[in-house]
Symmetry: C5
Amino acid sequence: MLIGEVVGTVVATRKEERLSGLKLQIVKIIDMDLKPTGQFLIVADAVGAGQGETVLCAQGSSARLTDKTRDCPIDAVIIGIVDTIEIEGDLIFQKYA
Amino acid sequence: MLIGEVVGTVVATRKEERLSGLKLQIVKIIDMDLKPTGQFLIVADAVGAGQGETVLCAQGSSARLTDKTRDCPIDAVIIGIVDTIEIEGDLIFQKYA
Amino acid sequence: MLIGEVVGTVVATRKEERLSGLKLQIVKIIDMDLKPTGQFLIVADAVGAGQGETVLCAQGSSARLTDKTRDCPIDAVIIGIVDTIEIEGDLIFQKYA
Amino acid sequence: MLIGEVVGTVVATRKEERLSGLKLQIVKIIDMDLKPTGQFLIVADAVGAGQGETVLCAQGSSARLTDKTRDCPIDAVIIGIVDTIEIEGDLIFQKYA
Amino acid sequence: MLIGEVVGTVVATRKEERLSGLKLQIVKIIDMDLKPTGQFLIVADAVGAGQGETVLCAQGSSARLTDKTRDCPIDAVIIGIVDTIEIEGDLIFQKYA
């Protein structure tokens, strides 16, 4: 999985029927030094993440395996809101820190 | 998912049978500064997008999960026409703006 | 999908049983300026493409969804022979042009 | 598959239901000279790997095929703890060497 | 698919149960000038390839579709041992040449 920050939203009125009701978020992927990699993903949101939150994203066919995205023709989804990231014993990220 | 602009079409008369009737569009992928990333995708069109429109594309097995592309041997599909893109509170893209 | 030119063939006598009878082509991927991207794919051929032809290739699980490649353990397939590529109103490629 | 070193953990309290009980590890991918490639993956752990261990990771739909991760909406998993890596007759890595 | 040379092996005693009995090979991916691309893949071996052999590898869910790897949580597999590679009429590779 990849980790990133929710930085925005995409709205599409005309879309594949199964996307109705799904919120499409823009996630700025970050690396393990917490800096942006330059990659952005448009993802469906399975957990109700908000702007600025650090999230865990899955790609590929697993994007269709959450309760909210079952059988949707999407390829990326937010599966968790990150509380902490610990690397080599150091807490490098803590939500609301 | 990725976002891009529909810039052209590909026509193939001799093709796998299940592709019959599918429109193949060329999408120039853009990044979240709305500039081209240099990547192009050939995609099937599940929503009837037109030249110049900004579209949302899914890749992988999900490309076979729209009504128009069910079980087609394709790996990329347009699943929505983008109306707005908002980043950090700024409306950076609006259709017909 | 990606577009490329058939530039060669790979022969493997000792192989997974389900590959028997499949032609393995080498495709030089091109970009939308018709120049090589530097990427090559080894693909199964579902449509009978010949050396020098410009072809449409699908990757991933869809490679197993053509009549000729059903359930084969492959990850890339030629699904069409390109007749024309049109970008922003210009016909940039035409077969036998 | 890719090989990497377990360097940390990610904790997410609010997450897709099926992720409950899964440990999310951060793996620093290494190349065959045992140096970091710069790529990190967040993976579920199917084998109980510990910090500092060198592990084998699978990506894509196979991430859902281990006993611990069955049907979870994840795209990467640790499937083995590496004991030895041998290249051209040289033992370049040995656990606890 | 990709082509590469078998350069080594990975041994993992502690691993996902379904990997038992599978040989894990290290493949150095080569390009169509037969030079290494710098990419390495750890693959399961479905055909019994040996050190130094040039092999055809499939990635993704197809890795689980060979007789030896059915339902294994892996993402890459050797599906053939390459005898010849011909590009634009030139035989650029021949086994035991």
